[in-house]
């Protein structure tokens, strides 16, 4: 067996759509269980009261990263066939900032907003409408910002490639960083809770 299965043509495009749906369901369940269907929980990340977003996201990244790494090392997965979005440094930085601001103002990100819509949150519906609008504006503005959009092109580059470190070493660093971030998050949450507790008294 070789992976990614689709790229080795174990099944065709139509089946892949069914798989997409199934994976989506799993994705939605995971997000909802994590409490990500609620803007208040998502936003509390930025006030240090509830660091769920950081914990879930980084744990997910580390899990998938470790899984992918070890499956590739043993030869089951062909890592070179996994899609890597191209890096356009400046647009991604600017886009990230805008998206971050949007996240705190809107209270959702695209994936979580879907879960929120599914659980009946009206603000999520409005948020999705807003997103559609934002995408539309982007599309309409595209010809004039197309050059910027394509600037800073660096090809498909990974962290290990860019920093000239071995892949395994970067994996290790990411794990360390994540654990460090989690420890800091736990500490931060406790502090905020204690502060809130003190204030109540």
């Amino acid at each position: 067996m070789n992976a990614p299965l689709f790229k080795f043509e174990y099944f065709n495009t139509d089946v892949s759509l069914i798989i997409a749906f199934a994976i989506g369901i799993a994705f939605g369940i995971a997000l909802e269980k994590g409490g990500f269907g609620r803007a208040t929980i998502l936003a509390s990340q930025f006030y240090f009261t509830n660091m769920r977003v950081l914990k879930v996201m980084f744990t997910a990244i580390v899990t998938a990263m470790l899984g992918l790494y070890f499956l590739s090392v043993v030869g089951f997965v062909d890592l070179s066939l996994i899609y890597l979005t191209q890096t356009n440094m400046l647009p991604m930085i600017v886009g990230g900032l805008i998206a971050g601001v949007g996240f705190v103002i809107g209270g959702y990100c695209p994936g979580t907003s879907m879960v929120a819509v599914a659980t009946g949150k009206i603000d999520a519906v409005v948020y999705v409408i807003g997103m559609v609008f934002g995408i539309f504006i982007f599309g309409e503005m595209f010809p004039s910002i197309e050059n910027f959009f394509n600037s800073g092109f660096m090809g498909s580059v990974t962290l290990p490639a860019y920093f000239n470190l071995s892949y395994g070493f970067v994996v290790f660093l990411v794990v360390l960083m994540a654990i460090g971030a989690f420890a800091a998050a736990e500490w931060g949450e406790k502090k905020m809770a204690a502060k809130a507790g003190k204030e109540k008294q």
């Binding site: 070789n2 790229k7 080795f8 043509e9 744990t59 580390v62 470790l66 992918l68 790494y69 070890f70 590739s72 090392v73 030869g75 062909d78 890592l79 070179s80 066939l81 899609y83 979005t85 071995s166 892949y167 395994g168 070493f169 994996v171 290790f172 990411v174 794990v175 360390l176 994540a178 654990i179 989690f182």
Partner: protein
């Protein structure tokens, strides 16, 4: 010791597992399979190009006529030879440049050279790099010329052989060759170069040639 482990919270256990895996990652090596080929002696002895890894010239001719595009046809010879004459729809990747090429592990790759020597070498190189669908053109370009371009009429052939020969006549014509009908074999040394619009293939990174699908967010 056991008590220590059982006293850890779930979170700490998770963190511990992650840390262990992270440290393992330091030593586990390159996930890309690397450019170095690790070869096992036994494997060398055992691995020979089996019959299932060969494609006959008539099969290939058939696929080309049927316009099948699900494989990559690789001409391993030099560029001058490639430009002089090559099988239609082939890419020129000289043997030395094979490792550096953009061929992907999940593509169906058919290798050929003048005979079977270079193609067998290339087959072995790719197989040790874990390429899955590697085939050689049985007999190489020499066989192609002999059977496809200039098929010889069977002397005192059976009915089946004669029918087959008639079919090969058409095939030969398709590829710009000519069937040899007399018993004195006249070798046509001027090889006809077929329209090259299909031979120079732009190297695409999508193995199936479909439109490049966005796979991002």
């Amino acid at each position: 010791m056991k008590k220590f482990f059982s006293n850890l919270t779930t979170n700490q256990k998770l963190g511990g597992v992650a840390l262990v895996l992270g440290i393992m990652a330091l030593f586990a090596g390159d996930p890309y399979g690397g450019t170095t080929i690790k070869v096992n002696e036994k494997d060398i002895a055992l691995s020979t190009v089996g019959n299932s890894d060969k494609v006959s010239v008539t099969e290939l001719a058939d696929w080309i006529i049927k316009d099948r595009a699900d494989f990559e046809l690789i001409d391993l010879r030099s560029e001058e030879k490639y430009n002089e004459y090559t099988i239609p729809n082939s890419q020129c990747i000289p043997l030395l440049q094979l490792s550096a090429s953009e061929l992907q592990r999940n593509q169906k790759i058919i290798l050929f050279s003048d005979d079977d020597v270079a193609s067998s070498q290339a087959w072995f190189i790719l197989k040790s790099k874990n390429y899955k669908g590697v085939y050689i053109l049985d007999g190489g370009l020499n066989k192609w010329k002999e059977n496809v371009l200039f098929p010889k009429a069977p002397i005192n052939g059976s009915k089946d052989e004669l029918v087959q020969f008639e079919k090969m006549k058409e095939v030969a014509k398709y590829f710009g060759g000519q069937a040899q009908t007399d018993s004195s074999i006249t070798e046509n040394t001027t090889l006809i170069k077929l329209p090259t619009s299909t031979t120079t293939k732009t190297k695409t990174t999508t193995p199936t040639g479909k439109k490049k699908k966005r796979e991002g967010c």
